[in-house]
Symmetry: C2
């Protein structure tokens, strides 16, 4: 999951050229039959859901599925095999050229204290270059906003390590919002610090769990300025460094990062379809992203979304429900550090004049579903979806908000497609996000399967009734 | 948490003698001020909640807090100290005589297969007696309902071990309902089997997690019939035994239990109060239960409820909110195997003609709060509480249902008091319930603190506006 602030802004746009409202159902089923079918999705998922078993294979067989890695290509083959074994109407791949960044040997960050060097638990940020041979040793300047970096300027920062240490706002209930508000430090902090001659950057991990686990994630640099080494500190390490700086403003840190960026690598989106019975050329998409950070098994981010999307297909088939529109499951690659899979998918769709009527993404963790965010250039889709709220409430799914789906369906939104994103409970998500502890034991099978059922039910309602 | 089916039935009753509606506020605060105060409970709890740190002390310092144990008495002193250190208006204890059952040496259950004995992971049920000297070895009869036991009768069951193996219904979203529906096997199974001469009972653990963890809990026996040894099997063990019985209906099991029931022991409810500014003689109660099962650290059941109840007092004080009614926090003892603390509390309240206007219980785990169940002999309290729903929804608390609060406030409901119980997300609760793995790492601090804030906000609204 990456912040989507930009696309949220774009939601204000009017109808785009490719806008395609879903056709209304030819004959509306009775309210009772509709309720029964929605319930069947949930009971089947709770009783016989297969997503959790698949997630075990994906996360233990292919951890660290970063773009360009062998693990991602293994996961691509796994996805192809799983979809292939389901007897779908069509399974295929899309070539995608993805960025290729490698961490190399483990990074090390050390606080150079009077009593000797103390290790600070850290992880290099994605896109960071290596430190110079022998490492980078410099004084540290702690800041709490990028505006502060701009204000301090070159005089204060040249040759220093800038330490972005503003915590996520714990008071916000929706932790995605807290992530979005604090995320500029990791996303843009190194690039901005480099403008003023900083030699390196350390960033407080984007998490609400106060522990010694570092959280990686992507960072960006500015054209015409140096790319400087950057790493995230665990909260324990960040607090230790901050305390050391309070005691001695001239405290120095030594960083060693061995990362490198390589030429783009070949990869693939993996796609499986159930052909629509009435409108085979009109597509309803469900998907998540197959890649994860290199240090992460990627159980919640986004192995959960992958196996939930596959489970949506299984639910339709097991329940004997033939979709009127073609139901397409897409396993996107490279959400984490580039979005090349989503861009490629949307580009190919436009080239082929494919008509998407709805696209649902799941990339906010495998926790108990609470609702959906919906986005449309055709007015407020979330208000139209409200009419189904009473069908979902018995299953804990109760709020329909305005949004932009998620990073992988957002390019479709810009083409005029109505999109949705599953909104699971978010309290625990950033405890594990982009870390080595994003493992399957953090996922509960019932919660995972409820999320798949919620998406399947929403898709079925849109398929039958339009949105 | 124990099933409350009986009390749910009693909810149909009309107004009882002691019924006490809360008086309406003298001057209603503005809607904006009300919303701001509700939000302050949540933000304070998320930013500075102390319940999680207290839960660590309670669960690691006093695990296995069963009635009659030294651990429970240590927890009683801990509770007294914690409340005492808060500078409340009054902290005191109530003498309670509690049942005293001891597990003794670890139980063992073995499947006697052709190739040799195979251990089956099991835990004796509370109130079970010991097996005879040398253990109990007998053939096993698998059943799936108590009706089946009644139907099979003495001829089929005399001298046998009855094996209650009906799973909890995974299709139910509200896992408490699945627990209630399957619970008769553990609660009454041994007593019913003893009526027909069974020598012992094994019961499938009441859980939805398919693992090798056994779940204990209380069982009861019928007057005039023997008390026979009874244990719960893990789901892995139950499935293994069932498979063995399918292969050979004469499969035998050997059980060794070393438990005993001792004379009742002295214990105490622990109580702390903030005196009401306008109606000091009118009480709003918040509470949970201090005891846990002997094998359980009791983090979710119900250490969470204890520290949340204490946090409610802290939130009022930290936010500088003086309740109009006396706010009383009660740490009940002996919820798990007798309810003596609740009975004693309600009895003393009646003797002293205390007037309770509202009583909130938290005993369904420390997971993210989703709503409240409310019960009243004065009509539908949950419908009256609906008017506050929009204040709670931004914090994920959205459903107000009819219920009976919980086991510890239910006796007050029978006296005419309006009661409520916090309804957290229930998907994971029975993964840990009554087990050795109900440890603090299963609790998320944010979820725990949100629950405390939800109760504090509801209590404040009732205090200010009546219900």
């Amino acid at each position: 999951m990456r912040p989507l602030a930009l696309l949220c802004i774009l939601l204000g746009l009017g109808a785009a050229a490719g806008a395609q409202p879903a056709p209304a159902a030819s004959a509306a089923p009775s309210a009772v039959a509709t309720e029964e079918t929605v319930d069947r999705f949930f009971t089947e998922a709770l009783e016989h859901g297969q997503a959790y078993d698949q997630l075990r294979v994906l996360t233990t067989g292919y951890p660290g599925r970063l773009a360009g890695s062998k693990s991602l290509e293994g996961a691509v083959r796994w996805g192809q095999q799983v979809l292939g074994a389901m007897g779908l109407d069509r399974v295929y791949m899309q070539d995608v050229s993805v960025p290729h960044w490698e961490r190399g040997a483990p990074e090390s960050v050390q606080l150079l204290a009077a009593g000797g060097a103390q290790p600070l638990t850290a992880t290099a940020l994605g896109n960071s270059p290596s430190t110079p041979a022998g490492g980078l040793t410099a004084e540290v300047v702690e800041v709490h906003s990028l505006a502060e970096v701009e204000k301090l300027g070159r005089e204060a920062l040249a040759g220093k390590i800038v330490f972005n240490n503003r915590p996520m706002n714990a008071a916000l209930f929706r932790t995605m919002q807290a992530y979005g508000e604090a995320g500029d430090q990791r996303n843009r902090g190194p690039g901005v610090a480099a403008k003023f001659g900083a030699a390196g950057v350390l960033t407080r991990s984007l998490t609400l769990a106060h522990d010694d686990v570092p959280h990686t994630g992507t960072t960006t640099y500015l054209p015409g300025f140096p790319r400087i080494p950057a790493a995230a500190l665990s909260l324990v390490a960040a607090d230790r460094l901050s305390a050391a700086l309070t005691a001695d403003p001239h405290t120095r840190v030594s960083m060693q990062i061995h990362a490198r960026s390589l030429p783009d690598a070949p990869s693939h989106n993996v796609i499986g379809e159930i052909r629509g019975s009435e409108f085979p050329d009109q597509i309803i998409l469900v998907g998540g992203h197959l890649d994860s950070w290199d240090i992460a098994p990627g159980a919640h981010d986004d192995g959960a979304g992958i196996v939930q999307s596959i489970e949506v297909l299984r639910l339709f088939r097991t329940l004997g429900l033939k979709p009127r529109h073609t139901l397409r499951c897409v396993l996107f690659v490279n959400e984490e550090n580039g979005g090349a899979g989503a861009t490629r998918y949307a580009g190919l769709a436009q080239e082929a004049h494919e008509r998407h009527v709805f696209a649902v993404e799941t990339d906010n963790g495998g926790f108990a579903p609470t609702g959906f965010n919906l986005g449309s250039t055709q007015g407020n889709a979330h208000e139209r979806a409200e009419r189904w709220r009473t069908l979902f409430e018995p299953w804990g799914v109760w709020h329909f908000t305005k949004g932009s789906g998620g990073a992988d369906v957002a390019p479709l939104l810009l083409q005029g497609v109505t999109v949705a994103g599953l909104t699971p409970d978010s309290q625990r998500y950033f405890d594990y996000h982009h870390t080595a502890i994003d493992t399957i034991d953090k996922v509960n099978p019932r919660e995972l399967h409820l999320g798949a059922a919620a998406m399947a039910a929403l898709i079925w309602l849109v398929d039958q009734q339009g949105l």
